[in-house]
């Protein structure tokens, strides 16, 4: 099929978006020249993000171009069973309610910059901090790799191969590194805002165009009934277990993403944080929901695609619609850029957090304690760029479909959740048990994932989490003592506990 954005127009659109991102990065740097003076300034935007910017940076961190490309393809393939993608994004906010209020307060009071900072303060254990840092860096690296692959596939797919995979990746990575390098969290958050708006508008126009030219849900329902009626059925047995596993694994896993947690630290005030999280609780309907509907509506347009072909479903639909009317052509330009921008905006926050953990938790804590903040930031940046270069080499030969890669990193990352969340409230938490639980959970999750084991249909990450929690809780009951090691943490804990009654 002739794609609407092949040839020169594809290249121009890409350049246009790239330049805008770069300008935002440079503009932010010009306005905040002291950004490299402290870790808080660089990695948390000076803890000054207001409601709107905070909302969009949460938004862009959580929703990637993947959400649009991968999830609509998945909805096309499995049908209504993929409806779970809407509530699982809301579950993330529910999990925030477990820890964000206290985490925000503590971070402000004790100048916490990374989630590992918090673990260090709470458990005062080298083993826990280093293991958590390794797990987070691994998951972030995997996540970043996924975004790099998605950038390449997105650019190549949407331009019908005019812009080769490698060129697309290199172009956007360079831009991302430059604006991230210049302005840190502020650049990332401001570009997130522009990227989020482009994605939202584009996805909505794709939905409208699909309905206008291919018909709405009733028509799609008839098609699905004819071609694959099983896609209409309610999930049962294994499908039901899979459904609830997704709610738990994504809810907890995505909430403890280190880059998501850092956004809690970056909030200007509790009020800004509350408002942006409230807005986030409603976003899944207009993002994952719209994307899901697009995948379902695609049946009417392309009723009989193979798995391989279905991966390109968004590009094919966007192209078909863009060829119909000039308004939709413009809208699809926006969508095209929006999808790429959304991938870049997820990648940039991952990279920034990756660097912050290297700066503060590895270099600053164990290698050179005396280093200035400026030097720590520099080390974080350089290691970040080296990591990107390494991941790029892997990205040249991308593995499997995007969706499988996504599940793999959550399985591991979710193992830091007990330490981060339970550690906030349970004074008895015993550092060695926390470490043993986290390590065993991560190993179980990794081994089960690689061996393809899902006993009882439960995901490997959830098994790891269950074993992790058992070791954590049993060990803390056996060896833990009620008074905390860290006096400051204890004061905070008691204060909050007593005052709520």
């Amino acid at each position: 099929m002739e794609l609407a954005f092949s040839g020169t127009s594809g290249i121009l659109i890409m350049l246009f978006y790239g330049i805008i991102m770069l300008l935002i990065g440079v503009g932010t740097y010009m306005r905040n020249r002291n950004v490299h003076s402290s870790l808080e300034e660089y990695y948390l935007g000076g803890r000054g993000l207001g409601t709107m910017v905070l909302f969009f940076t949460f938004f862009a961190t959580q929703y990637s171009g993947n959400t649009v490309i991968g999830y609509s393809a998945e909805a096309y393939r499995v049908g209504y069973a993929n409806l779970v993608s809407i509530p699982f994004f809301i579950m993330i906010i529910l999990v925030y309610l477990l820890f964000a209020p206290r985490m925000y307060k503590l971070s402000k009071k004790h100048n916490i910059v990374t989630p590992v900072d918090w673990l260090e303060m709470k458990f005062n254990s080298k083993a826990v901090s280093i293991l958590a840092a390794i797990i987070m860096l691994y998951a972030l690296g995997n996540f970043l790799l996924e975004q790099l692959i998605a950038i390449g596939q997105g650019v190549a797919g949407l331009t019908g191969g005019t812009v080769p995979y490698q060129a697309g990746v290199i172009f956007f990575i360079v831009i991302m590194v430059v604006y991230g390098w210049l302005g840190g969290m502020r650049s990332v958050a401001y570009t997130d805002t522009m990227q989020g708006i482009a994605l939202l508008v584009g996805v909505f126009m794709l939905l409208i165009g699909t309905i206008v030219y291919f018909g709405g849900l009733p028509a799609a329902g008839d098609y699905i009934r004819t071609y694959s009626p099983e896609n209409l059925g309610v999930p049962e047995g294994g499908g039901l277990v899979r459904w609830s596993n997704f709610l738990i694994l994504v809810g907890i896993g995505a909430a403890v993403y280190p880059n998501a947690i850092q956004r809690i630290f970056s909030a200007k005030s509790e009020r800004a944080l509350k408002r942006s999280l409230t807005q986030m609780a409603w976003m899944p309907f207009v993002t994952a929901g719209v994307v899901f509907v697009i995948g379902i509506l695609a049946y009417t347009a392309f009723p009989d695609l193979s798995v391989e072909e279905s991966e390109q479903i968004v590009g094919m639909m966007a192209s078909a619609i863009a060829n119909e009317h000039i308004i939709f052509y413009i809208a699809m330009v926006l969508l095209f850029g929006g999808i790429i921008a959304a991938i870049v905006s997820t990648a940039d926050s991952v990279l920034l957090t990756f660097s912050s953990i290297v700066s503060k938790d590895i270099y600053g804590r164990y290698i050179n304690r005396e280093a200035s903040d400026n030097r720590k930031i520099l080390v974080g940046k350089i290691v970040g760029v080296i990591a990107v270069a390494f991941l790029l080499m892997i990205a040249w030969n991308p593995p499997g479909t995007l969706y499988q890669v996504f599940v793999l990193k959550l399985e591991i990352l979710v193992q830091v959740a007990p330490a981060i969340i339970l550690g906030l409230y349970w004074e008895r938490s015993h550092a060695k048990s926390v470490f043993a639980g986290m390590l065993t959970g991560a190993l179980v999750a990794a081994i089960f994932t690689f061996a393809g084991l899902t006993p009882l249909g439960i995901f490997s990450g959830v098994w790891g989490l269950i074993i992790n929690l058992i070791i954590y809780v049993a060990g803390s009951f056996a060896f833990g003592t009620a008074p905390a090691k860290d006096a400051v943490a204890q004061v905070d804990g008691q204060e909050a506990t007593q005052s709520v009654r």
Partner: protein
């Protein structure tokens, strides 16, 4: 004053509500077989969407009325 501090996790009643919503969020209570379609959408999917809206409403309510932990002096510098 400190007594006004409210933290969602410290109020167990909130979590009973979330547990009920979570249980209803899993589509175990629908009959199997050919689903009823309402404007092309399976009925079970519409019900799940309804529960999902309730989840978002409940989260909005909890954030609005059960989360207030910032100190007095800090809240003074809040944005408009």
């Amino acid at each position: 004053m400190k007594q006004k501090t409210r933290e969602p996790i410290m109020n167990y009643r909130i979590w009973i509500g979330f547990l009920i919503i979570f249980i209803l969020l899993n589509p175990w209570y629908f009959p199997s077989g050919d689903p009823v379609l309402v404007y092309g959408v399976p009925l079970w999917a519409l019900v799940i969407m309804g529960v999902t809206v309730v989840l978002s409403l409940y989260i909005t309510y909890v954030i609005r009325y059960h989360w207030d932990v910032e100190d007095e002096e800090e809240s003074g510098e809040e944005e408009k």
